[in-house]
Symmetry: C2
Subunit: 560 residues, 2 copies
């Protein structure tokens, strides 16, 4: 879909008299209508050979947060090219439109309300001598021990490429990752009814994760010390346009500790050595209609890359006749949580799949599963009966590297360079430190799951292939799941000592709660790419601590 | 053990001529000796009826980091009361003591070395108008919407009690947690040989997690804007002593986002509303000999409490004759990773078990498992074949609430107040959001695991009982596992609508890597206590954004 497709489709139903009549019959002024273009997905039928889209509408009356005022049950199927109405499903006329009260979230509409919590005094991250990074040629970021190329992309949002880290012993720049990006998202809602079953979004391939990234708010999306980068994308007619302040880059210091040791009262040596932890963050926030995804690539001086996804924005909610749980019959299926009168937050999952072309000290790498297993001792061997042992297994082909995490069969997952050993003979590597491990539990034969089959495993490894970058396929809109990561991986190609791509899916199950109404506090999850025997020793051993005399001198703002 | 036990035991072997002889025979000057008191654990034998301790030694020659220079295989068993040697196990004489080079971590020993990475410019968190919290009577912390009591404790380290949060709608203070603390730790090493099998530490009950918490470094352990609190503890003779700056309290701002929404190009409404995220952190760092544990209790304005444990400090390592992996025979068991010449980092686990006496809007609460299960649709019901459904199950007795996490049987775990419903009829509650879910895989019949049986599950719920606060038992040293959480929970007492205690274990498997040598970059994990239908709606909806005119005015320090 182009931006033009997305922004014109919602208005198309207004050319249909039946549509206008049902809107007016439901007591809604046509001028208060806000409608959304919803990707249709694919549901196992032979589809007509044309581009289709569904449109659902909301009432804007009394609030900017129309998402909380669904016109439930009304779904218009449009031809995406002609913008003609193909079908109107007109159900749910008995479901009231939820009230507008308490749904607006704009500060200008709220700030005269009495707040019963005490206010916070100003706080900020300050760097009066400026940032420690430079950006060369507009895209090459250099910070402490890191160098990488940063690019806004209409589909992936942010692309990090040629990430290299300087070795503290040799001073050399060493390759870590050739390219890293958000490859695809899969967001299935858990409601099989007429107006909801098709909500199984793939936000990168269908809507464009970068196309939906809006300008960042300079004092709130990123701290005051941030640098901003614009995106330049082609419109549908080929003319370039600028998306200003789409990405920010900043140094973060949260008061965390890089490393520390104090000698305890046991030895009484009086040693206390502590190093503060400062990181470099690259951030983008994509607003795919209601939802806001905050994507951070965080670089640490110890060589670690943390990839974090925050979910905020507004829920996609469903209208209901109920105003209290005590009205809901035992057998009734809500498919979610009653969040407010007549508003249900429908259960859904979020899967964000990352493409990580790792090049640890060069392109040819191997993927190693280090399995932790219980070993029982022989009788008389030890007063202990058991201990854990680490068994290394080098994955030979793709199927060896289709990983579903199991808590009671734990393993570390390493990408190593088998041709490069440390001084004492360990292969240099990086490991994936998982989190956000929610796994898709849909029926694998369910059409949405066939399209989102790249979430069948949490980790996959494929040999580099320039046509395999988008986990849901190159063309995702109305796709049938014939060109996904799951299909490619079934080829079971060799991956040992090859240029390999690691795929990681960060997963969230979201059972909404009232705190998510009318706008959601951010929920975050992250995974790490962490050096494992990549360095000869702790690479931040030589970093200095903070000294009082180096820190800035600040005063309260004149206005305060 | 008292601090006096711990600090006197390491010197006791010097009164034994055989001990001194083997030290000298190994080429070590007695003046260079550093020894550690190591809890003996219990290994299923009928023990002598006396207090015992083991002592192992290291060479301090050429480094303050003696931990990297083990005198491998030499273990002295002492009577802890008389300090007399009971037995000396004198093995490993053929294992060289690792070199001292590159092991020291003190800045004063490093700062004249050429650093090949570029330096960082000063960065700090600034609050020129001061913090937004007050501490009344030395212990009652009041910050934005939170109030809680904070106490240093010799065994638990930090105790948070009577944590209450102000409701933005009513202005009332609402109870969340009556008491929260680190109850016990369990740190089994995974090496069954003579000098290692007994390393199965329980750091709170054996060493005193608070007793090991040393004064924090004001500019590096906590940011510049921190407030410090002292601990006052009794010495063995009953005389109180002060542990200064044991706990810090500070506001943190990392550049994160509390909530946001921008209207996308789809609707083109030009809305962008973002709120920065500032949190309050309570921190302690315990140095249990080599290891440093950083424990954070982080309070958020949205009602969330994040409990985070960071691991840093120094590994407990093992001497080995090998200097390179190419010397290690295929069948040889290293029990860990070769980190440097003659140094093995032994695999181990860390389990940190928290006692959380939740009082959500009052003492009587219930524990609810919200299981997410796949529901298949009936033929013809929907174009979808499957969706996820949330099934609620209220735990009646303790065994209903013994939880081992499973990724493919996911559930949310709620502590609710069944007597208090929201406006639309949901029970008010808090949920546990797990992370750091490594589970103990030792044989449940292994004596260390019997003592550490509180790690048999990741979550337990017990009815409040004042004698059940220490998960490993009131008396842990040389205990036989007869008084653990696992034993209490087997009583299977009713827990529905009772004053209940939630127990959560944060687990880490640690397979050391070279980056951990000679001192470890911090590894952190955290879990959350998060409001779930506790508030009627987003409690931070009314928080203001940052405005430029409120932020501080800073300049570089004069010296810089």
């Amino acid at each position: 879909m182009t931006i033009e497709d997305m922004s014109s489709s919602p208005w198309a139903p207004l050319s249909d008299a039946n549509f206008n009549r049902t809107i007016i019959d439901r007591g809604i002024n046509l001028a208060d209508l806000a409608c959304l273009p919803i990707s249709t997905g694919w549901f196992g039928k032979k589809e007509e050979n044309r581009r289709l889209i569904k449109v659902q509408c909301y009432s804007l009356q009394g609030t900017a947060n129309f998402y909380m005022r669904p016109i439930e049950g009304l779904t218009v199927l449009l031809d995406l090219d002609t913008k003609k109405v193909v079908h109107i499903s007109d159900m749910g006329r008995d479901i009231p439109i939820p009230k507008s009260e308490n749904t607006d979230y704009r500060y200008s509409k709220l700030n005269n309300k009495y707040s019963k919590v005490r206010l916070m005094k100003p706080i900020s991250i300050e760097q009066p001598k400026g940032p420690s990074f430079e950006i060369e040629d507009g895209h090459l970021v250099k910070w402490v021990n890191w160098e990488f190329h940063l690019k806004p992309d209409p589909r992936a949002g942010v692309i990090i490429s040629r990430a290299m880290v300087r070795d503290p012993d040799t001073g050399e720049l060493r390759n870590v990752m050739y390219k890293g990006m958000t490859s695809e998202l899969f967001v299935p809602y858990m409601d099989p009814t007429d107006a909801w079953y098709f909500k199984t979004y793939m936000d990168a391939g269908e809507y464009g994760f970068g196309l939906q990234a809006m300008p960042l708010d300079p004092l709130n999306d990123c701290p005051r010390n941030a640098y901003y980068m614009d995106g330049v994308f082609p419109a549908a007619d080929g003319v370039p346009y600028v998306r200003s302040n789409m990405i920010c880059v900043f140094e973060s210091y949260a008061g965390d500790i890089g490393w520390r040791h104090a000698e305890s009262p046991i030895t009484g040596m009086g040693i206390r050595e502590v190093r503060p932890k400062v990181t470099l963050v690259v951030r983008m926030a994509a607003s795919v209609a209601n939802y806001d995804y905050i994507v951070d690539w965080e670089f640490q001086t110890d060589g670690l890359i943390r990839i974090k996804v925050g979910l905020s924005g507004i829920l996609m909610v469903k209208g209901t006749p109920y105003v209290n749980m005590n009205q809901v019959p035992e057998e009734e299926k809500l498919y979610g949580t009653l969040l407010s009168e007549n508003v249900i937050g429908v259960i859904h999952d979020h899967y964000v799949t990352f493409y990580l072309d790792m090049d640890v000290d060069g392109p040819n790498n191997s993927f190693v599963k280090v399995n932790l297993v219980r070993e029982e001792t022989s009788p008389g061997e030890s007063p202990r009966r058991s201990y854990l042992k680490a068994n290394r297994h080098v994955a030979k082909t793709e199927k060896d590297a289709q990983i579903k995490f199991k808590l009671y069969d734990p393993s570390e997952l390493h990408v190593i360079n088998p041709s490069k050993l440390t001084r004492v003979g360990n292969p240099v590597g990086y490991k994936v430190v998982p989190a956000g491990t929610a796994a898709s539990m849909l029926d694998p034969k369910d059409p949405p799951q066939m399209r989102g089959a790249f979430t069948n495993n949490q980790v996959w490894v494929t040999p580099y292939n320039r046509s395999e970058q988008w986990a849901g396929g190159l063309f995702v809109y109305q796709s049938h799941g014939e060109d996904t990561l799951a299909v490619w991986s079934e080829k079971n190609r060799p991956i040992e000592n090859k240029d390999i791509v690691l795929w990681y899916t960060l997963g969230f199950h979201h059972v909404p709660c009232q705190e998510d109404f009318p706008i959601m506090p951010t929920v975050s999850s992250s995974f790490d790419l962490k050096p494992v025997n990549f360095y000869e020793s702790n690479p931040i051993l030589n970093m200095p601590p903070n000294f009082e005399e180096d820190l800035p001198v600040c005063r309260a703002a004149a206005s305060a």
